[in-house]
């Protein structure tokens, strides 16, 4: 392929995946709200309610507070949404072509995941509101909290692949193509389950969801980071949450549940990709329903100092035990 063709392909797939990410992400938010409502014995809004909310925000006034730094206040939601869309390009979506899959690995995805959060922090500080400032500080502390357990999960999975002799262990297509469950024995399976629990605990914090939503905390900070945002800027932050929901779901599916329907049922290539995409979305809905919806309905919010303790003490320890179990399993299997 020529350089022009490569660039053209990246541009085309960025457009396709971005539109898919925005649509699927908003539907995921709708499903989350519907399931949460049923868990609370309510009917809940329609599945397309997030789309209606975005349309409503786009016709509302885009107020810039008098204390704000206007350029940074307006730029933050743009950076947050752009960076969220770009992360999606590195993650396999079913058996579909991952546009940037060959141009970056899981370590890069880990770093890119911090950009939307940092953009939100910048927007909070630029708001000129004490609520937003406190929210921004809490977001930074939460990030410090969950990055360590997240790093343990990434390294543990990649290390196990490397120990099994798999080339490019940090590449997401490699991880998705070599399900870690099939590489380990009984001890290793316990370790992988522990790592899954850690990644599941990191996800609500990445999405600012209960019990790790101290940065927004409606009852204490009246929305925290986003308290001064309205109109189209708030619409962009809402879209960021939608896309990040899909990103996190896709990441968990790629690392822990990468199987495709076409691997089990024979079907023509075109139909196989579509079936795999539908199956992928089904897995994302299932995973997010448990680790985000069920958790946020069943739990209360942690205080900010508890957030760090929970991540650095509890989940870092669980992650390290998971890593040790993987190492012990490898030693028993004679591959270490």
């Amino acid at each position: 392929m020529t350089l022009t063709a490569v660039v053209g392909e990246i541009i085309l797939w960025t457009v396709i995946v971005s539109l898919f990410g925005l649509t699927a992400g908003l539907f995921l938010l709708g499903i989350d709200r519907k399931i949460a409502a049923h868990m609370q014995a309510r009917i809940g809004p329609r599945l397309r309610q997030p789309f209606i909310d975005i349309r409503k925000l786009l016709v509302k006034e885009n107020i810039i507070p008098e204390n704000a730094i206007p350029w940074l206040f307006n730029l933050a939601p743009v950076i947050a949404l752009v960076s969220s869309l770009v992360i999606l390009l590195y993650i396999p979506l079913g058996s579909l072509h991952s546009p940037l899959g060959m141009y970056g690995d899981l370590i890069l995805v880990m770093y890119l995941l911090t950009i939307p959060a940092l953009a939100t922090v910048a927007g909070g500080f630029a708001s000129g509101s004490p609520y937003a400032t406190v929210g921004a500080q809490r977001e930074m502390v939460t990030m410090i909290g969950y990055e360590f357990p997240l790093a343990i999960v990434v390294i543990a999975i990649a290390w196990r692949l490397w120990a099994a002799g798999v080339a490019h262990p940090f590449l997401l297509s490699t991880i998705a193509g070599n399900p870690v469950w099939g590489l380990v024995g009984p001890l290793g399976i316990v370790g992988v389950v522990l790592l899954l629990i850690v990644l599941a605990a990191v996800t609500p914090a990445e999405l600012s969801r209960i019990p790790f939503d101290t940065q927004e905390a409606e009852t204490e900070l009246a929305g925290g980071l986003l308290v001064e945002y309205s109109g189209r800027n708030l619409a962009l932050f809402s879209l960021t949450t939608a896309v990040k929901t899909l990103v996190l779901g896709a990441l968990i599916v790629a690392v822990f549940f990468p199987w495709n329907l076409s691997s089990f049922v024979a079907m023509p290539a075109g139909i196989a990709q579509l079936a795999d995409l539908v199956f992928f979305l089904f897995k994302v809905v299932l995973v997010m329903s448990v680790i985000v919806t069920l958790v946020r309905v069943g739990m209360a919010r942690f205080r900010i100092n508890q957030v760090v303790t929970v991540y650095w003490h509890t989940f870092a320890l669980i992650g390290l035990v998971g890593l040790l179990l993987l190492m012990a399993d490898s030693a028993l299997a004679g591959v270490l």
Binding site: V15, S18, N62, G104, V141, T214, Q306, V308
Partner: protein, 114 residues
């Protein structure tokens, strides 16, 4: 054809140019969404006053959150560690040299004997 060359770290890699192209395309999409939104608001009205739960805004100095509070939650969660590590910074050079020698000895034991 590869898009120039990906940066490699031995086990990991990334291609900044591919990332940049995707960022630019995504930025155009986000710009188009943003342009569909209302841009105006009523400048100089109570709309632009910071929201402080309906209370009048105090003097700026009174509501300013200091940088020393930046990592409050973090410091509070790890206060057991900081309660130990802060007093260890005595400012006495002899103490620092002792810590240096002790740490080096411990590392020596770990590296050489384990």
């Amino acid at each position: 054809m590869t898009l120039v060359e990906s940066l490699s770290t031995g086990t990991g890699f990334w291609n900044p140019l591919a990332w940049l192209i995707a960022v630019l395309v995504a930025a155009v999409i986000v710009y188009l969404i943003r342009q569909r939104g209302e841009s105006g608001y009523k400048k100089g009205t109570t709309q632009t006053v910071p929201f402080i739960s309906g209370n009048p805004e105090p003097e700026k100095e009174m509501v300013h959150v200091r940088a020393s509070n930046l990592y409050w939650g973090y410091l509070d969660a790890l206060k057991g560690y900081y309660n130990f590590i802060v007093p260890a910074h005595t400012g006495v050079l002899n103490d620092y040299v002792l810590w240096y020698l002790g740490t080096t000895a411990a590392l020596f034991v770990v590296v050489v004997f384990i």
